[in-house]
Amino acid sequence: MELFFQDLVNGILAGGIFAVIALGFSLVWGIMNIINLAHGAFVMLGAYIAYVLFSAFHLDPFISIPIAFVLMFGFGYAVQRYVINFVVRAPMLTTFLLTFGLALLIVNVVLVIFHGDIKGITTSYSGANFTLGPVTVPWAKFLTLIAALAITVLMQLFMTRTKTGRAIRATSMDIGAAQLAGVRVAHIYAIVFGLGAGLAGAAGVLVSMSYSLQPSMGDPFIIKAFVVCVLGGLGSVEGALIGGLVYGILESFGSQWIGTGLQDAVALVVLLIVLVVRPRGIMGKATA
């Protein structure tokens, strides 16, 4: 019974990170209709930024979060504006392959600079836990969850309360109408992609605190991000959060019962069930 609660808590803690990763992925997918296969690589970059800042300046990772966000935002903005923009309205295959190629590039550049050996960030509180009844909660993961929730709330406020946020939502609803209303679509798209990259970078910092780093670490996150988006419903911040938490829990129980090597299989089964039973996800709106 204690195992049940431990698994549940572990799932929630992991789910927070999944939610932030999925949020960036969902933003780009929902608004620009692009599945960014380089999203995992962006997460990895965020993790490496945290690593560099930690080893060079002893900067606590939590402080690196906004720094990584800003750096990755700029990177994402540039990538969209000057590379992806060329094919933003092309058939899906084109953007799939383009982002795949970018991922390959990014991962290999990192490989060249940092080499493939596994790195990690160990802070003073890395091993510290507190207990909640029968459950052991690592401090690092708990703070990660708090940070993830904070990021989610900030994103929601941004999308609903700021002018840019509203322009973004307008563009996603009707690009023609948005243009007529004076929205500079290329700029908005670049901002959206930048936000997606920024969120990925922030998530990467969170990941770096609990997982080890290597250039290929981002790969598994793409499928998970996809499943979370489908599970939670595309195009909503709450959807990404709920989807992330639910998925985290499912994966936690799944690896308990089936074994940790089969996480992708679990993800896929969840994905297929959701797609067949309720394609719009938990929070999604039914589309025409």
Binding site: L104, I223, G261, D264, A265, A267
Partner: protein, 334 residues
């Protein structure tokens, strides 16, 4: 007018034009395949491996082309069929001490067909991005599952004893590639090809015109899977060893797609041309920049997608010179 109609009728009977593509490209590829038959007689192991690779990738690309190019359902996980093919050969040797390549190919094709049939009915109801990622998920999940089953070799993989006449693997791969090429040609000029293309162009209209979409999509996926599995069956023997990462390698998943794009998606000659060109590029990069060749490969993918989305062969049909080319690039911008 009558002469026009007559020659048009002749062309139609022979089966060129429209979705079959140009006569020139087809016969050039036939010539290429004939030439490739001569490779083993050069008695150069490196060259034989290289061109066996070209034939393998051409087959994978031809297979992907059936579901992704002609039918318009972009699969991002067709490597699963290749992997199933490799494991078929591995198991035939490991459990039954069966080395016969032909038996391996046929069995692998049967496995792939069943797999595509069973999974295809639910999966092919998904469109666009969903289908692409679902196929990717299937490939990753299958890899994981197989890696976790000890009876299949688990983490350590399976060794396959190779036949003595090693060049037979080359000829087998050649046969698989040629059969796939001819099958693509026959499909393109038959009613089946029209069903696939109609589904790609407008699935609702195709349904109203009598094309059962589920049936034909599944059929397309089965055909593409059988081609990939056949290639995998031969590869396993030639490689002598199979484990999950080798069987389901990302390269074998993505390269065929890039090759099809490079050569021209939805054409018969495209995959073959793309396989040749991309292998040439890859080999050049390998020999000059061994450490960072993957990095350059990523760059190649990006460049191909940005500048040659419709493939090399389309460049020959493009009118308007440089300005026409640049204009064609701006079409998808915002």
């Amino acid at each position: 007018m009558a002469a026009e109609a007559a020659s048009g009728a002749t062309l139609r009977r022979v089966g060129f034009g429209g979705i079959t593509g140009s006569r020139g490209a087809f016969f050039a590829c036939c010539g290429l395949l004939v030439v490739l038959l001569a490779v083993p007689s050069l008695h150069n192991g490196y060259i034989e491996n290289l061109f066996r690779g070209v034939l393998m990738f051409a087959t994978l690309s031809l297979g992907w082309n059936v579901i992704g190019g002609y039918t318009g359902y972009v699969s991002f996980g067709n490597v699963v069929f290749f992997g199933l093919g490799t494991y078929t050969t591995a198991m035939l040797w490991d459990k039954l001490h069966q080395q016969n390549i032909a038996i391996a190919i046929v069995t692998a094709m049967a496995v792939a067909a069943i797999f595509a049939l069973v999974l295809g009915v639910p999966i092919l109801r998904l469109r666009g991005h969903y289908f692409g990622i679902a196929t990717l998920g299937i490939a990753l999940a299958t890899q994981e599952i197989i890696a976790n089953i000890d009876w299949l070799g688990g983490g350590s993989g399976v060794t396959i004893r190779q036949i003595d006449n090693f060049s037979l693997y080359y000829y087998a791969m050649w046969a698989v590639c040629t059969a796939s090429f001819l099958a693509t040609f026959l499909i393109a000029r038959s009613k089946l090809g029209y069903a696939f293309v109609a589904i790609r162009e407008n699935e609702e209209a195709a349904t109203i015109l009598g094309v059962d979409p589920t049936r034909y999509k599944v059929l397309a996926w089965m055909i593409s899977g059988m081609m990939a599995a056949a290639a995998g069956a031969v590869f396993a023997g030639a490689n002598g060893f199979i484990d999950a990462p080798t069987a389901f390698a990302t390269d074998d998943n993505v390269f065929p797609i890039v090759m099809a794009i490079l050569g021209g998606v939805g054409t018969i000659a495209g995959p073959l041309v793309g396989a040749l060109v991309l292998t040439a590029i890859n080999e050049t990069l390998w020999s000059h920049f061994p450490e960072i060749h993957t990095l350059f490969f990523g760059a190649v993918i990006v460049l191909v997608v940005l500048f040659l989305p419709r493939g090399i062969l389309w460049l020959f049909k493009l009118r308007g010179g440089w300005r026409g080319f640049i204009a064609s690039l701006k079409v998808y911008r915002v």
